[in-house]
Amino acid sequence: MSEQLESQLYEALDREFGFKTFRTGQLESLASLMQGRDTLAVLPTGAGKTLIYELYATIKSGTVLVISPLLSLMQDQVGRLQAAGRRKTVALTSLTDLAERRSQIQRLDQYRIVFLSPEMLVRTEIQERLRQMNISLFVVDEAHCITQWGPDFRPEYLLLGQARKMLNQPLTLMLTATASSKTQEQIIQRLGVPNANRIMTSVNRANIFLAVETVSSDREKGQRLADLVRSLPKPGVVYFSSKRAANQVAANLNELENVEASPYHADLDGEQRYKIQQQFMAGQLNVICATSAFGMGIDKADIRFVIHYHLPTDLENYSQEIGRAGRDGQPSLAILLYQPGDEQFAWSLSQASIPDEALIQRFYQHPSQFHGQDEQVDLLKFYQAHGVNELAAQQLFSDRMKARRTAIQEMMTFVTTQGCRREILLQKFQPAPYPTHNAECCNGEDTPVPTLLGSQTEQKPTQTVKGNWQSRLASLFL
């Protein structure tokens, strides 16, 4: 990187964001883009991935196009950018109503950053509009979704490569927090950017102690969770695989002294989600019971623990979720509660979105008989519409099943190992060498879970305004 480029970037950072230093990976990624190179940036959650394209948008003329699979996160981000005074930002999603969307599309070239869901990008009228514009950067956020198969999976992600071609192959930035080397290859191949520059920072989060605890029953698991939540410094996040469990456990935890917990998942409408996020940020809530499938627009630096109540379906999800803890660099704890048999539940979740052999066969024989809103049928329709025949579909889905099974096995290796868990986790994402195991690393090798955590900045939930409705109303407006 030339000195001139470096100082140009630092100047922009100070001018636009008031920061003096970049976080790991930001400067390298920006420099790579400024040199006109397609870039794959694998940066940990909380590393400030968005700053890369936000800053780029202020330096280069034209429009930055951001493709993101998580509608709620996109809305959050637009809200955040607008709150920060960056008004020329818009999210074009299926949530926007038609008339409004039309006027947004008309004015599209006036925005500096345009967020698009993948299903919007593949629409002809939008592609036509985009082709008339000067796209300075094509960003694929959560790029691992191109290969992953989960609730966040969008078949449209498979068409991103094609869409990029249609737009005359603009400069491309691929962002992800967690991508194994294999996933990285797939991203690069599917987007058709073989010469992409890879910027990687270690996914290792040294300040997070990794623990797995085995329990023998549901009851014991619930009890253990309550003990942990009671005694650990807060705030914290507990992850679940089912909304129902998240609701129930949140209600139970709420009974504990000094614990204010709330569920947080896709069943809540925008109003409730906003309130829960803001309460958590303000310290009125100190425990969030979230489902793994649901992206959380919360960037809270002082989260002290992340507990997994159910077994994650793969190490990539696990790594991303524990990454919410300790963004302030302070010692934090990731605990996975494992009950023998949990892998069956994880497996059934993994399978749920994948059509089996019989369904594929029936579908291809009588496709017109299938309608309604079944997730599996939607997938099959998508593939069929894009020229995938039955044989290819059978192969594709059986490969997918195998891949999901392998992913759970890897997760189980992490759970059952007697050795260093951190090493097993890191092996998935980066080449050796790995940090040496020690007392602050993990509870493998007979290492106890540290108790020092209780000593620091303990947060008690702050009180909400008390009094009758008149005084509450007065505190709002008078």
Partner: protein, 345 residues
């Protein structure tokens, strides 16, 4: 009442109900079929009250009740079991009884609340001269409307006026309702409480908290229309609605002027079936006295009364019986009679 039982109130032990109808009612889908069954279920005032209701969620909650033995599913319809009915009844005695239920239909409750939440936050932050905060995220239409409203009304006394108008509204409801409503508002350093948090605090089901909200908003719309809340009227006045669709209103007005259905169809280039649907919509939504059932049905009334003597069994009436009696009538007459009988009882 346990909060998890809060959807039981949407169902009944003796009337099998379709989840789809309830969902469409919440979503505000104005097909004659949704309107008619919404009327039959007594849920019509909920029309369009929760546009973003997640249908899978409703389905899941129903399944939870079925698993718990509080409800059963027959032919895609849901019936409460005796236990379910008991829980519902017990719950309803503790639950909130709406004061303005029939008036809910005349206000776009969802959009009114969105505007109020965002406007409240803007006023509250403005009062403390705060311009950098995390704005309540809602649809762009609401954000645009609130922004313009704020520009029109910005002044040092904005907070004071906003407070006074809300106080005026809330003085007209119970202390509990006022309290539960104010907790929901968003402002400076106050993120607002969620429906389920308020539900836990007040030991009432979420549905009750929502019903209180709808009552307050309806009361607000009434006072607003009467010119008593200039500031709030400027914010949400356009969301008071006449619940009839434009088409139905036109057809009904023409019909009131003595035009026949055929003439109306011809004049507006509509199919006769559409004209009939318009009239049914008007019949379902307008108060009983405003629709000329007897005049329209004429001598058909007596024949229908003979064919369908048992009004308690109305949900099971078969249109088939009319044809089998050798009468070549359109389905319209059957349904119109049903609407009438429903409204009379």
């Amino acid at each position: 009442m346990n909060v998890t039982h809060s959807i039981l109130w949407l169902f009944d032990q003796h009337q099998a109900r379709r989840i789809r109808v309830i969902e469409n009612t919440f979503a505000g889908k104005k097909t004659v079929s949704t309107l008619f069954w919404g009327l039959r279920y007594g849920l019509l005032p909920l029309l369009g009250s929760q546009k973003n209701l997640n249908r899978h969620q409703l389905e899941r909650e129903v399944q939870t009740e079925i698993d718990a033995g509080h409800a059963i599913r027959t032919n895609q319809q849901i019936l409460l079991t005796p236990t379910g009915q008991q829980l519902k009844t017990a719950g309803l005695t503790e639950a909130y009884h709406p004061q303005f239920y029939s008036g809910w239909l005349n206000v776009d409750l969802g959009r009114t609340m969105q505007r109020l939440l965002l406007a409240g936050q803007v006023v509250s932050e403005y009062r403390v001269h705060q311009s950098r905060y995390f704005p309540y995220e809602t649809d762009f239409e609401t954000m645009g409307q609130v922004k313009q409203w704020f520009r029109r009304n910005k002044s040092d006394s904005l907070g004071q006026k906003f407070y006074q108008e809300l106080e005026r509204v809330l003085n007209g409801v119970s202390v509990q309702t006022a309290d539960d409503f104010v907790r929901q508002l968003i402002g400076h350093d106050q993120p607002g409480e969620t429906l389920s948090q308020i539900s836990q605090a007040s030991k009432m089901p979420v549905a009750s908290i929502l019903a209180e909200r709808f009552d307050v908003l309806t009361r607000m719309a009434q006072l607003g229309s009467a010119g008593e809340l200039p500031l709030i009227q400027d914010l949400v006045g356009d969301l008071v609605r006449f619940p009839l669709s434009r088409g139905a209103m036109t057809t009904f007005n023409q019909f009131q002027r003595g035009r026949t259905l055929g003439e109306i169809a011809q004049q507006y280039g509509l199919k006769i079936g559409t004209v009939r649907e318009h009239l049914l919509e008007a019949a379902i939504i307008l108060p009983l006295a405003q629709f000329p059932y007897a005049a329209l049905l004429g001598s058909r009334t007596d024949q229908l009364r003979q064919l369908y003597p048992d009004e308690a069994q109305m949900d099971d009436w078969q249109f088939q019986d009319i044809m089998e009696a050798g009468l070549d009538w359109d389905f319209f007459w059957f349904r119109l009679y049903q609407v009438w009988r429903t409204k009379e009882t």
